[in-house]
Every structure is written in C-alpha cells, then in structure tokens.
C-alpha cells in the first residue's frame, strides 16, 4: 500500500521506463542470436588453439589438461577439425566396439552425423565429407576407384569437427584406448586418376599392385596431442 501511494505521488518517467523495457527485449534477442557467432570460448575456438586442420588428435582427459569443460573422465576422445574449403576430407574411423562413436559437428557445434560401432557393418570405415555446394559440381561415388565402399557425408558447412568417443571402464584403460583411437585418420581427399587426367596432369605410372598393409598404429595424419 505504501509502495502504491509512493508511486502515485512520485512522478516517474513512465514513458522512458516502458521504452527501456521494450529496448531490453530487443537487446535480449540480439544477445541470444549473436552469441554463437561472437563466443570466444566455444568448442571450435578451444580446439583450434591446440590443433591444425585435417588431422586427428587424441584429446587429453586428465584433470589438468582437459581442453573442453564437462569432458567425460571415462571416455577416451579424439578429434579432427576438418576444413573442406579446398578439398573434400576423407575420414577413416576405427570402430571396434558397439559403444565407439564418430560424431560430426558443424563449426557451431551442430551434430549432423553420427555413427556408432553398433551400426557400422565393419570396424574400418571410409567416410568422405563433401560440402553441399560442391556436391552439385562434383561426381562422388559410394565406391572408390579401388572398389572400396565409402559413405558420402554431405556437410552443411565447410568447417567443423569430427569427434571420436570410446567409453572405457576406468582411467586405467585411457592410454591403451587412446592408442586404438590413433588408428583413425582425417586427411584431404587425394585426386582420383580420372580427376588428374581431366586436369591435364602428366600421367603417373602406377606402382605394381601390392597386398593392402595391415592397419598401422600411427598412420600418417594422426598425432597425439600433448
């Protein structure tokens, strides 16, 4: 009652107050909409600080070095910041267990593709990341020239993050699981023979066929982050 009598006796600039509240609504909406584009500590920025594009890195998940907040202490992780500006990127994830997961995100953290070991028909997959705009110009096939199956993943953006997750029993298994995560590669797609011929590049004499090598522990394009 006292407040009401105070408000009726004191002359407040109501028009200004109403205008300020209306403007605060506009500022509220602008702040929410712009945050993904101005955030300096989003996942992309944090991972950019410790990585080069198109290479897989094992993420440290110990108490001192965790680069992302709320990381799972019982999940080994590896990531690749892919950049499709110049070339498509070839991912070769290794999914030996049903719980192992490859998730692909846009630069703003939108998860547009995920595959787990439970869904993969084989442990050793081949995924070709192609931006939507380029798909209209290029012919990409679900079979490579070597007749290898590949999954075409159409990406809504030219940059993003591929993230491997491997749940583990406890921290004691982190090192051995990280070594298995190292089998994953991420690298720009090499031009096919047909593309080389079309571009007028000199013909390269193919080396004699050899048996495909067994998967190596540290294939090119994979590094430990430390």
């Amino acid at each position: 009652m006292k407040i009401w009598s105070y408000l009726t006796t004191v002359k407040l600039p109501w028009l200004w107050i109403v205008a300020a509240v209306s403007l605060s609504g506009v500022i509220h909406i602008a702040a929410v909409l712009s945050l993904p584009y101005v955030a300096e500590r989003d996942a992309w920025a944090r991972l950019s600080a410790i990585s080069s594009p198109n290479q897989f890195y094992v993420l440290p998940s110990d108490a001192e070095n965790a680069p992302l907040p709320l990381m799972a202490p019982d999940v080994a992780s590896a990531f690749c910041r892919f950049d499709l500006t110049e070339k498509n990127v070839l991912l070769r994830p290794y999914l030996p267990d049903a719980t192992w997961t490859l998730a692909i995100f846009t630069r703003y953290g939108e998860n547009f593709y995920v595959i787990t070991g439970a869904e993969a028909r084989r442990k050793d997959l081949r995924l070709l990341l192609v931006p939507r705009e380029r798909l209209a110009r290029e012919t990409v096939s679900e079979k490579t020239e070597e007749d290898e199956e590949q999954i075409i993943v159409i990406t809504p953006s030219e940059t993003g993050v591929a993230l491997m997750h491997a749940p583990i029993r406890s921290g004691d298994f982190m090192t051995s699981t990280a070594a298995a995560l190292n089998l994953t590669t991420c690298e720009p797609q090499k031009p096919t023979d047909a593309q080389l011929l079309a571009s007028g590049a000199p013909e390269v004499v193919a080396p004699p066929p050899v048996a495909p090598p067994a998967r190596r522990k540290n294939r090119r394009g994979t590094r430990n982050y430390r």
Binding site: P13, W16, I17, A19, A20, V21, L23, S24, G25, V26, I27, H28, A30, A31, V32, L33, L35, P36, A39, R41, D42, A43, R46, D62, A63, E64, A66, L68, P69, L70, M71, A72, P73, D74, V75, A98, T99, T101, A103, F105, T106, Y108, G109, E110, N111, F112, V114, T116, A118, P156, V161, L163, H165, P167, I168, R169, S170, G171
Partner: protein
C-alpha cells in the same frame, strides 16, 4: 540535463535487463528449452541442427560438443532431490537402478565444469565399473572424505555438479530426453553436512 540523465538511465536499464535476462536463461535454462526431471536438467535440443536459439547460445557458451539425443542423453544436476544446492561440505547419496542403455556414467565436476582433483583419481562411475547392491540397484556416495563403497570425491569443490551420460538408451526416452521418466534417473539425497 534531465534529458541526458534519463537517456543514460534508459540505456543502462535496457542493457542490464536485456543482457542479464539473456545470460540468466542461457546459464540456467527455461521451460521452453530445458526439461527438469527430478534434480536433473537437460537441454532437450542440444547439438541438433534445428536447435532453438537459446540452446545454440548455450552450446556456444558451454564449449561442449554434445552428441544428439537419439544416440546420447546428458543430464546435469547442481541441486539435490529436495532442491537444495549441492555443497562440498555435505555427503550425498545417489541411488538408482542401472539405466537400460549400452553404457551410462555419472561424473562429478566443480562449478567450472572441470574434474574435481583428488588423490584417488576417481571422477566418475559407469555401467562397467560400478558396484551393484544384491538387489541390483546402486548407491554412490558423493562426499569430500573417503567413504566405503562407490565413493565419488567432492573434495573442496566450489559448487560441485553431476553429469549423467546415457549412451544409446533403450526404452529410456523413445522420443528424446523430454520423455525420460523421473523414476529412471537416480535420486540425490543429502545426508550429513560437516
């Protein structure tokens, strides 16, 4: 002069209300973007391409990369089941039954989302390493000092919080986390405070 003062006051008021309310919703969630299930909260659309603007802002601010709801569900709790803020001065009992999923885990963090450093180097319990009781349920003790059983250290963490991860849930949430039933998720009961 009066006009200038009013203009400054007008601008300050608009900025404080506008940015303050945006930060509040992004940090604490709101009914249109988050679901509260007992003490657990989840951002229903996190990680999705068609996520609402608040969820997108939350993801940018949090610095996380969550996998979408059909593959993984994430629940955080910074309150107990009675609604009181979790404190490192208190012991809590987290009780429940194993979640019907390929894998699940409960981890403790400090207020900044970092692991709570402890000598035992124990930061979580998961479906593979938790010790179950004879009736098939589990009890985790979130406590600053060592306790028998499934002890999850909270040490002297400022504003400790818990995260429950459910990977490949089966019958837990047929249409995403909004449909998760409260009885599936563990309860958090405060015991004694030191």
């Amino acid at each position: 002069m009066t006009f200038l003062l009013r203009l400054i006051g007008f601008s300050l008021l608009a900025l404080v209300i506008g940015i303050g309310s945006a930060w509040y919703v992004i940090d604490n969630g709101a009914f249109f973007a988050t679901s509260s299930i007992g003490p657990w909260q989840t951002w229903s659309n996190e990680g999705r391409l068609d996520a609402d603007p608040y969820t997108r802002a939350r993801m940018a601010r949090s610095g996380r990369l969550p996998v979408t709801g059909s593959t993984a569900l994430y629940f955080t709790a910074n309150e107990d089941s009675e609604g009181s803020r979790l404190s490192a001065d208190c012991d809590y009992e987290i009780t429940g039954r194993p979640i019907n999923a390929l894998w699940w885990s409960i981890a403790a963090y400090d207020g900044e989302g970092q692991f709570i450093r402890n000598k035992a180097e124990r930061y979580s319990f998961n479906s593979k390493n938790i010790t179950l009781l004879p009736d098939g349920s589990f009890k985790i003790r979130l406590a600053p000092k060592a306790r028998p059983g499934n002890w999850l250290p909270s040490e002297e963490a400022d504003a400790p919080m818990l995260m429950l991860r459910v990977f490949r849930p089966q019958n837990t949430a047929e249409a995403g986390s909004r449909d998760t039933r409260a009885e599936i998720l563990p309860s958090i009961t405060r015991l004694d405070c030191g």
